[in-house]
């Protein structure tokens, strides 16, 4: 094994790796390095699966999930379903450093972020709005519903629960792939 330090990250996002390494070399902590690398990925919208303007939900909104963990203190800060704030990993760091909690979600996480000084911004872009419009044109296909009426494999919602379990399919593996993943 090569001598430490070490930076490793999923997917070929080299700019993020370089940013984390540079932060370490500049005297930053390991947490600083993680935050720096992930922040750059958010700003550069790494392959569309990170940051603003990507992967809109069924209402056309982009929301962000992020988490940071200190392996020495075992402290964790995380945000989920964060709305209208671009720097999700930065907010997660604030959760870790300025609260006794672990995970904040949704609109409440946004309010926390604003209180911590993060700007409230629209996360939509022309691209994400185009992706959403195309999905609507394709009768909302693919989607993640099951056992509902109308038939979610053919129609848009709103959906209601179907009587009985008419579909017992496993996880939506056909809808999560190299272009759409966590």
């Amino acid at each position: 094994a090569p001598p430490l330090p070490l930076v490793i990250n999923t997917w070929p996002f080299g700019n993020a790796t370089r940013a984390a390494w540079s932060k370490l070399q500049a005297g930053g902590s390991e947490l600083d390095a993680v935050e720096s690398g992930c922040s750059l990925c958010e700003a550069q919208q790494c392959d569309g699966s990170v940051g603003f303007g990507g992967h809109p939900d069924e209402l056309g909104e982009t929301t962000l999930d992020a988490m940071i963990m200190d392996g020495t203190t075992m402290e964790v800060g995380a945000v989920a379903g964060l709305r209208r704030i671009k720097n999700a990993i930065g907010v997660a760091r604030k959760v870790m450093e300025h609260t006794r909690h672990t995970l904040l979600v949704g609109e409440s996480a946004t309010q926390f972020a604003e209180a911590m000084g993060f700007p409230n911004e629209d996360l939509s872009t022309n691209h994400s709005l185009s992706v959403y419009s195309e999905w609507l044109r394709q009768n909302c296909q693919p989607n993640f519903w099951k056992n509902v009426i109308p038939d979610a494999s053919k129609s848009c919602g709103p959906y209601k629960p179907a009587r009985g379990l008419v579909q017992r399919k496993g996880p939506a593996t056909g809808k999560i792939n190299i272009h759409s993943h966590d």
Binding site: L4, V7, N9, V50, P171, D182
Partner: protein
């Protein structure tokens, strides 16, 4: 999604993730990224791990936590990652996912679940013997 593990000279380990989740997810859906032990996990006495893929499936198996625990029990990082993928495979054979693992002696590895459209997983590494980050890949199992 990006998942990252950083291990400093003294072994101090940190990890993190950030993601905009699945395309066309139901409003309010949250994936594995913000869940400790699922999206990533760090323990400075062992190392760290991060997962990527279908969060709805992977978060049920806490793959990052499990990988760190495998390394704590003595597995090298590549073996720990493979064991995590195998563990999920038994329940969900066709899941989309990959894991990266690193330990505090500088070892690292990755593993992924082989699918027709996903046979290799690419990840980035930067360590002190390099002058720039390198892209590495593993064959999925």
């Amino acid at each position: 999604t990006i998942g990252m593990v950083v291990i400093g000279k003294s072994g101090h380990t940190a990890s993190g993730t950030t993601s905009n989740g699945a395309n066309h997810k139901i409003h309010g859906r949250v994936g594995d990224s913000p869940v400790a032990g699922a999206g990533s996990y760090a323990d400075s006495t062992v190392g760290g791990a991060a997962a990527t893929g279908d969060g709805d499936t992977m978060m049920r198996f806490l793959p990052s936590y499990q990988a760190v625990e495998y390394m704590r029990a003595g597995d090298d990082p590549a073996s720990a990652c493979k064991k995590v993928i195998s563990r999920i495979q038994k329940h969900v054979p066709h899941f989309f996912g990959a894991v990266i693992c690193a330990n505090i002696t500088g070892g690292y590895g990755a593993a992924c679940n082989k699918l027709p459209e996903f046979s290799q997983f690419h990840f980035m590494v930067y360590h002190s013997l390099q002058s720039q980050p390198s892209e590495e890949k593993v064959d999925c199992i």
